[in-house]
Symmetry: C2
Subunit: 459 residues, 2 copies
């Protein structure tokens, strides 16, 4: 249903006039995400307390109005898009870091905290929160929990779900729940915490979270290894994993990715003839890092790298990461539209997948840019095209179909960290069977009987 003035005045009573926007501009600003798609909400509200969130849901439930939770709209699959209008629940004002507990290695925070701000806050105290999606300078912890965000460091440290101990959340019925624990361990009852993490904002809205922290590594070294042959780079990833060294990052950039970032990497970063780059990072105790850096350098050279550079200081390392993290938005220099798939394959299948993607490019005459978290087999594969060209659309679609088919054939998954949202909905049944999807749908119905929370996502 569309919202009328009576509805808006109830919302205003809950959050106050200054925490509500109905103007066209503000609604537009909350209409899109990183997919580039846009759906206008009827109204945007900015709650500042859990109680307000609860009252909004009670009202929305009664009136059968959709509520779409939103962090900063950096999602890759449309998870925060208000497909049918309704209320966008913008969580940015619930951005307090309540507590960083240095004795117990935990933090209690609100969902609107920017991930990068949280990194800096805990690192000041000698602590470390590993999950670091490429959008960390603007995405929020709430969004990270919704999508179970990963990032480069997941290869060593795991993803968001490994760092969430407990949640306060509001159910679509308006009830406030507390899940999980505040301690290092806990198994009382079913694991509602991890059911909510990664549910793409469709089961509950997280209003506070207890996160696990670990000690900040003493030392970090960042290496970049240039390869003239993409297959050598891919084989090097498997070879690294086999050594038993666990770098904290093993990132892969193909030739098209390098074209986009070579200027920001700096003139001397890439050797002439570089077709693929690996960014490796090791962390830990100083002596161990020095040893592993030497070992990785010589391994890369023995696998055919034409140049291996170690960042001389944190500034040089930051330059490399800034270039890597800028890749996703830069893709639009190549074509007006992209289909961005974050497939995962077993690490040993990376060389096969890299070859398959090359073949796809030739077969369908499209630029496909591949980069990503090769260390855990998670490749961001971007099929570039122009939506206005029907033939390109058709070919892009064929390429995606083939990409997913091959991914699943190799024992992989269609999404490592971006979620399903709306963009992968139609592919979900290729990976997950009808009984399993049936269970998921029933869980959704159980949490959200009126289907008002973020409807139309995942299935």
């Amino acid at each position: 249903m569309r919202m009328g003035n009576a509805h808006l005045s109830v919302l205003e009573k809950i959050v106050g006039a200054r925490a509500m926007e109905q103007g066209a501009e503000e609604r537009y600003c909350h209409s899109y995400d990183a997919t580039g798609r846009s759906y206008l909400p009827d109204v945007v509200v900015f709650p500042s307390t859990t109680s307000q969130v609860s009252r909004i849901f009670k009202f929305a439930c009664e009136q059968k109005i959709s509520v779409i939770p939103r962090g900063n709209g950096s999602g890759m699959t449309g998870g925060s898009l208000p497909l049918e209008g309704g209320i966008v629940l913008s969580m940015g004002r619930m951005n307090a870091i309540h507590d960083i507990d240095e004795e117990n290695f935990t933090a209690s925070v609100e969902p609107g905290v920017i991930t990068g701000d949280f990194h800096r806050a805990v690192e000041k105290k000698g602590l470390f929160y590993p999950p670091d999606p490429a959008s960390s300078s603007f995405c929020t912890l709430g969004g990270n929990i919704a999508e179970c965000a990963g990032g480069p460091r997941a290869v060593k440290y795991g993803v968001t779900r490994n760092y969430v101990l407990g949640l306060e959340a509001v159910l679509p019925t308006g009830e406030i729940i507390h899940t999980g624990v505040q301690t290092a361990k806990g198994v009382a009852g079913y694991d509602l915490t991890r059911l909510i993490v990664g549910s793409e904002g469709t089961l509950a809205v997280v209003t506070r979270m207890t996160l696990r922290l670990i000690p900040l590594p003493e030392k970090i070294e960042t290496l970049s290894a240039c390869f003239s042959d993409i297959h050598q780079a891919a084989s090097t990833v498997s070879a690294i994993i086999r050594t038993g060294i666990v770098p904290r990052c093993v990132e892969f950039l193909d030739r098209s990715s390098l074209e986009l970032v070579k200027d920001s990497l700096g003139a001397s970063a890439l050797a002439p003839g570089t077709c693929a780059l690996l960014i490796l990072e090791v962390d830990g105790k100083k002596e161990m890092v020095a040893t592993e850096t030497r070992q990785l350098k010589s391994l890369c050279l023995s696998m055919g790298a034409i140049k291996v550079t170690t960042a001389r200081n944190s500034g040089e390392a930051a330059t490399i990461w800034k270039a890597r993290k800028a890749l996703s938005p830069l893709l639009y220099q190549l074509a007006p539209h992209k289909i961005n798939e974050d497939i995962v394959v077993p690490i040993s299948a990376i060389p096969d997948m890299v070859g398959f993607i090359e073949q796809l490019q030739r077969q369908w005459g499209l630029t496909i840019v591949s980069f990503g978290h090769a260390g855990d087999g998670n490749i961001h594969c971007n099929i570039m095209y122009d939506k206005r060209d029907e033939d390109q659309c058709r070919r892009a679609q064929k390429a995606v179909d083939a990409l997913f088919e091959h991914t699943l054939k190799l024992g992989g998954t269609i999404t490592g960290e971006h979620g399903v949202g709306i963009t992968k909905k139609k592919y979900l049944t290729k990976e997950i069977g009808p009984v399993e999807i049936g269970l998921m749908r029933q869980i959704k119905h159980l949490f959200d009987p009126h289907n008002i929370l973020n409807p139309g996502k995942i299935f």
Copy 2:
């Protein structure tokens, strides 16, 4: 309902006569677990394939007969007890290690594999599966998944849920499902994998699992530190965590525990006047382990340890662990019955909790033995008593009530790794609210509409 000959003959058709036991002895052998309680099943079946498990459930569902999955009966809270008779589904014959994939750091195994056997199998290939409950020499991986088992190494490496990538499982309706992924990452759909892990065998029966492995640490050092004051030992645990060193084990044994194991530890292990022992273990690269061992040793001494010993070889380390792992069964030397609670408190609250337990002993005149995984705040607190003595029962009950109340007041949980089962059922509502338990009950109903799978557990 009780089972008749017609029922038994259908089961025989499914699994064969040699995979079914109706004799009193075999039924008795499958009637108890580590709680010491016993409930006779009507029949014990030993399926050897997923398809057999599925057919058993289809039949049980139709006939409304309870099915109780069982590993090796080492559970601490009654999770595998057939409270109302029915079919015990003994998973021990599904014990194949199908694959240990050295390139992708994964293993595909059946639930009946003994955890310790699995440790040895992967370690032979230079790989490592960290979860190691004290019962690892006889418990099964299926049971570990059901309870989300932890163990000493969880302080560094996390618990079972961190090592499960994907599952094949049979629903109580007989349908076979596949959850999760075979890869390092994956977020497609709701996290059914972690919903099943730790659900204490009440949502589905796991028939195959993909587990994550990590590289085997190069070097391990095992230290034991004797303290003449239990409070010094407790404070040392917090002090260790604050240093940023993450030992792979930080175990604590109080004076009563040491009385039980001093002979197996060996004459020279404990300094005269030892009232508490910390067992510390560090692992990783050789040089780092040497440095951290030195640092831990001097930290313990500065905190007041009267003796710190480093195991000279793996044999000496094994002696220490053998003694530690034997503790739980040895408790019955002190009294015929125990109430065993695996509470968890924030690490900084361990000294407070240790003091509180001392006070409880004095107040209720009972021996309370405390030991466990102090590094993550997980203390196994055993209240020893004689069930035949009504007054002791009353006092033991009062002590448990006070223990849980204080645990929750400190921000802790009533169970870190043993689960709720039947022994903690009545305490669950002290920790988890009615809305959350309502959700859990509905999830149970959704998976098991006829309530035939392991009924009467958790809530």
